[in-house]
Amino acid sequence: MKPGMNIAVLVKQVPDTYAERRLKDDGTLDRDAGEAVIDEIDSRGVEVALQLAEQHGGEVTVVTMGPQRATEALRKALAMGADKAVHLVDDALAGSDAWQTSAALAAALRTVGFDLVITGNEASDGMTGTVPAMLAERLGLPQVTSARKVTVDGTTLSAEKLIDGGYAEVTAPLPALVSVSEKIADPRYPNFKGIMAAKKKPVQTLSAADLGLSNTGGANAASRVVSSAPKPPREAGQKITDDGTAGAKVAEFLATERLI
């Protein structure tokens, strides 16, 4: 590890939310359905890590667990400026739930070493939002989740975190885990130099066996999908163009539907 602050950032590759997302018949995500991108929330995590490393020195390591092509998400983070990457890739990990994902990522993070772990607050594909807290518990770290602002002074981390109905100011001793909310820094765009440099940066791959993981994969998950069914899509109703009376016409519609 370098002097300064060594930061591990988790990034996940997800189906682009601008496209339709589908589940397979067994209730797992259809990862071939659309384009795969680095989750927007994780690109914000990378941005925060880069800013902190710029202020305090140190090194930014991006970590992902996912299929072969998830390495694209790592390259994107490297092009933004991260120093190195770790890719946990193994067919045996397919179908992992949050419990197993947090076990695997915790093992990977222990091999990397860190003063600070940064994650997104909620992946856009799984919607569980529980991996960060599970990781913090496994690694014995304080957790600061849904942060909208993060600063570090010595070994104390201060943050503003979103809570229901507003925000809270919190502090925690390092090492710690932070999950970022979308109300934090906008991610920088990789420039040409960054993209070229990323090609030469080290990406270490790890297997489940490398980390000594057992009971991996969907068959051993701590939770399982029982059934899954698509809902029929909504259809458009009537549409009018305002001729100066549309407000009154909406009121009529609401009255007919017994909504007022």
Partner: protein, 322 residues
């Protein structure tokens, strides 16, 4: 009957409505027991309400630490309550509200209990099978924990509270917080809820988007909301432009709403916004652009200027109530 533990959500000496919803869900599975984590004296103020809402037992976990640290006091208290209730053989599930804190508590607790976790359930049956609404309601999925005591967060407003009074027997439990893994809360800033209904649970929601144009002009949205007795929502573009506070964001990364009526003013209807509102019973949209995607899901669409249509609608609604 096995026990089902419910983390009581409370603020300023009052229970949050979601607690009654969780106790109702708990009763389907077993004997509902509430866990109150708070400063000394917190439980005394809530005990009557909890018993009326269905708690047969109330595990009282009080400590000055409860309010100074985030999340870990609740994790430790729930772990202690699981022990006090007889452990894995006796506890059928732990239910928490699906809030930011609720999910953090659930995640940490699941690791301590070596249990699986399910987040954001919209329903729960007697065999602890949870129903989830995935990708903004495009899929309905049922899911089950297969390891340990199921730890489940439940979306506010999804289960209808049906209170059946319980005995409300108070049982003290002790917990400690390890400062090395604790996050200290130094200040909390919440907007006073005011007279408007809670966004997630509201029967009617009026939302404004980037088309509203400024924070000042959001009063047009608020006036219509108030005439309808509705909650106010906003798109991410409106929030990011500083027109309205973040806690009112509707969508994939904001609050999911499913009201009887949703009115979208100056919102284009991006897929991520729709993910948070497309299960609304009735949708009305006002947008200048006839091709705005919001019209694809609107039951009643108006191509027009929101600054003409919304005030006229406000007027009509007020006079009909007259």
């Amino acid at each position: 009957m096995p026990t089902v533990l419910v983390l009581a959500e409370h603020a300023d000496g009052a229970l949050r409505p979601v607690t009654g919803e969780l106790l109702t869900a708990a009763r389907r599975v077993g004997t509902p027991a509430a866990v109150v984590v708070g400063a000394p004296g917190a439980a005394a103020a809530l005990a009557g309400e909890l018993a009326a809402a269905g708690a047969e037992k109330i595990f009282v976990a009080e400590s000055p630490d409860a309010d100074s640290y985030a999340v870990t006091p609740q994790v430790a208290a729930l772990q202690a309550a699981v022990e006090a209730a007889g452990g894995a053989g006796e506890v059928a599930a732990v239910l928490l509200p699906n809030t930011v804190d609720g999910r953090d508590i659930a995640g940490r607790l699941a690791i301590r209990l070596d249990s699986g976790v399910i987040a954001d359930a919209v329903d729960l049956d007697e065999s602890v099978v949870a129903t989830l609404s995935v990708f903004g309601g495009s899929y309905v999925v049922t899911s089950q924990v297969t390891q340990g005591i199921p730890v489940i967060t439940v979306r506010a407003g999804a289960v209808t509270a049906e209170p059946v009074a319980g005995a409300g027997e108070q049982v003290p439990v002790q917990f400690t917080v390890d400062p090395a893994t604790a996050t200290t809360v130094t200040a909390v800033h919440t907007e006073p809820a005011g007279d408007r209904p809670d966004l997630a649970a509201a029967q009617t929601v009026v939302s404004g988007g980037r088309g509203v144009g400024s924070a000042d002009k959001f009063s047009v949205v608020e006036q219509l909301a108030d005439a309808l007795g509705a909650a106010v929502g906003a798109s991410r573009a409106a929030v990011d432009s500083g027109y309205y506070p973040h806690q009112f964001q509707v969508g994939q990364t904001g609050t999911t709403v499913s009201p009887q009526l949703y009115i979208a003013l100056g919102i284009s209807g991006a897929i991520q916004h729709r993910a948070g509102m497309q299960t609304s019973k009735s949708i009305v949209a006002v947008n200048k652009d006839p091709d705005a995607p919001i019209f694809e899901i609107a039951d009643f669409g108006v191509v027009g200027d929101l600054f003409d249509v919304a005030p006229q609608l406000t007027q009509e609604v007020s006079s009909r109530k007259g």
